[in-house]
Symmetry: C2
Subunit: 341 residues, 2 copies
DNA sequence: TTGTAGGCGTTATCAT
DNA sequence: ATGATAACGCCTACAA
């Protein structure tokens, strides 16, 4: 087994000083051609590679970025992550991922751990626990230390930092407008509790679209779940009791489960009832019929987040100006919607 | 902005030496109660936390583990990752993820980068490119340096290291046996090219089960794709030309797409044709009917991989004994299979 | 052209 | 009870 070799080994072996070796390997003009040759040859032969940790300590730069997300078994987050990882890689950064598991405590612990020198900056989406609690001190502490932070998707106005979101409100607005244009009258919304910023915005878009088109905003047409967990009974109950000809869902799963149930009831999609779901994931694509979706462009979002972060990291200057980039959602039309006129 | 504070700052501020501060913060008995109190109070007040990088350099231990996987937008890998991250966290390790994107080159580059001190060990699943090429020198180099390595799911016999896999062969064998017990006669296999170790093993189990039950092994009943990419046309073509009453698929997507097509053709599932798919993911669960699946226990697999790796990392002693843990797959029965007698 | 010395932040050993 | 020193691996300003 050949252990990693250091400058010191090379220096000792070749009877020169460490700094000579260091310079020679950087091809410095200061070093004589012959010495340089010997050193470089030896280094190549023994596959010398500088130790990242030592360089990090010296430069006070780790070339690592910390990503903290609520869950990884989740299509949207994985696409964002892919965007981050990909961009970061092109810039020579590695990515350390921590899962908050939707828990405030885990989010805090993970952040503090990483903030002690392991990373140069954070990219994160707030956990449900954090959004519920409304306590952002761990984020403030990190930014106070001058560590750059970019929030995506699940953000909060209270935090001063760069952000990337999609225009959830507009996505919902357009979805409902499409239903209305297709002559749907009873448009339901399936959503989660308000402390998810995304649900809040989507609900706002839903309401606004109804009002703008002179339709009644009826709380009875809203099915609200406390979390992202699915509750089949509540869905059955809702669709048994409520007459509906279109459904906007804040996520895929609620939409798919609902489609399944109404189909079992004998309703036809899209003839009798039409569906649109947020987050164009794998379920939307492979459902029968395919679920028309509001695509969130996760990969693009991750790429932008990484870009914003790395710029801040490498800019050095302590700017106190933060920007929020808002991406426009896109419609992916599939079989679950069709003009009903 | 309050920058991170170091031992040196505290020492200077309190007029003591750095080593006194270091000891006091470790609650060493050597330091007088009064001094210790002052130092600890000051540290608490200024929220002193030791710098991870400096500690890594000193200890030659980063407490990071490197995970290299082909793709993250993939249900199985995310469940494995969750298992890894979770276990690693309980042991005080962080996880650096790199995506090989199924490319040999990216896999090599990422590994070499991380191997230069950033991590204490690797957990990985081989990229398609690597399996195709059959070149494992980058792995040998890493293990030669004494860096522990655990391979999961996509493994290769040529590599000497710890491994975690599921018994793919047995999973396929059982699936086919179930079909036969349900009186299915024409059992198709949808698979990928042989260089995926998992496809190879699953195909072997499929064949073995047929032979053991005195059924003919007919190449005509096998639909083989070059990659994991889906090809709708090939699927349509296959099901139009081939008479089949049961289908085993090496992944969810092929199964779901096939189910969709045969249903559109007017066949009933499971009455006319029955399906079983590998990898019990989100698609299997929400398909209509639900897809009976061979569950791979990704999370467990990740946990075991992390456990094996961390043991090796912390054991120090250079053992040359490697083990392969094989997990037994489990059946998750859903609507896509039913006794047809 | 080559080498020395100091520092990045921490810890451990060995003085005082 | 406290402090000086060296070391982890690398880099670089400054000497020689």
């Amino acid at each position: 087994m050949k252990r990693k070799i250091t400058l010191k080994h090379i220096a000792r072996e070749l009877g020169v000083s460490i700094s000579t070796v260091s310079k020679a390997l950087k091809n410095s003009e200061e070093i004589g051609a012959e010495t340089k040759g010997r050193i470089q040859a030896y280094a190549k032969l023994h596959n010398y590679k500088p130790n990242n940790i030592a360089i990090s300590l010296k430069n006070k730069r780790t070339k690592n970025i910390g990503v903290i997300i609520p869950d990884i078994v989740h299509h949207f987050f994985t696409t964002v992550f892919r965007g981050i990882e990909n961009y970061a890689n092109t810039k020579g950064y590695n990515v350390i991922v921590c899962l908050s598991d939707e828990s405030f405590d885990k989010e805090v612990i993970n952040m503090e751990l990483l903030a002690n020198g392991s990373i140069d900056g954070f990219i994160m989406a707030l956990s449900a626990g954090t959004q519920q609690k409304g306590d952002y001190n761990h984020l403030k502490e990190v930014t106070d230390q001058g560590i750059p932070l970019v929030l995506f998707d699940r953000v909060a106005d209270e935090i001063n930092c760069d952000k990337v979101v999609i225009n959830d409100r507009e996505g919902a607005y357009q979805a409902v407008s499409k239903f209305i244009k297709d002559d749907r009258k009873k448009i339901a919304l399936i959503t989660t509790d308000e402390h998810y910023s995304v649900s809040r915005d989507r609900a706002a878009g839903y309401k606004q679209a109804l009002l703008d088109h002179n339709l009644e905003y009826d709380e009875g047409l809203i099915l609200k779940f406390p979390t992202m967990e699915i509750d089949e009974d509540a869905i059955e109950d809702f669709f048994n009791k409520t007459e509906v000809d279109a459904v906007l869902s804040v996520n895929e799963i609620f939409a798919i489960a609902s489609m399944r149930f109404v189909q079992a009831k004998g309703l036809r999609i899209p003839e009798d009832i039409s569906f649109i779901g947020f987050t164009d994931g794998i379920l939307s694509k492979y459902a029968t019929p395919g679920l028309t979706a509001v695509a969130q462009h996760g990969e693009k979002m991750g790429e932008i987040a990484a870009q914003m972060l790395i710029e801040k990291i490498e800019l050095e200057v302590e700017e106190e100006t933060y920007v929020t980039r808002m991406l426009e959602p896109t419609f992916v039309e599939r079989g679950s919607t069709r003009n009903n006129k």
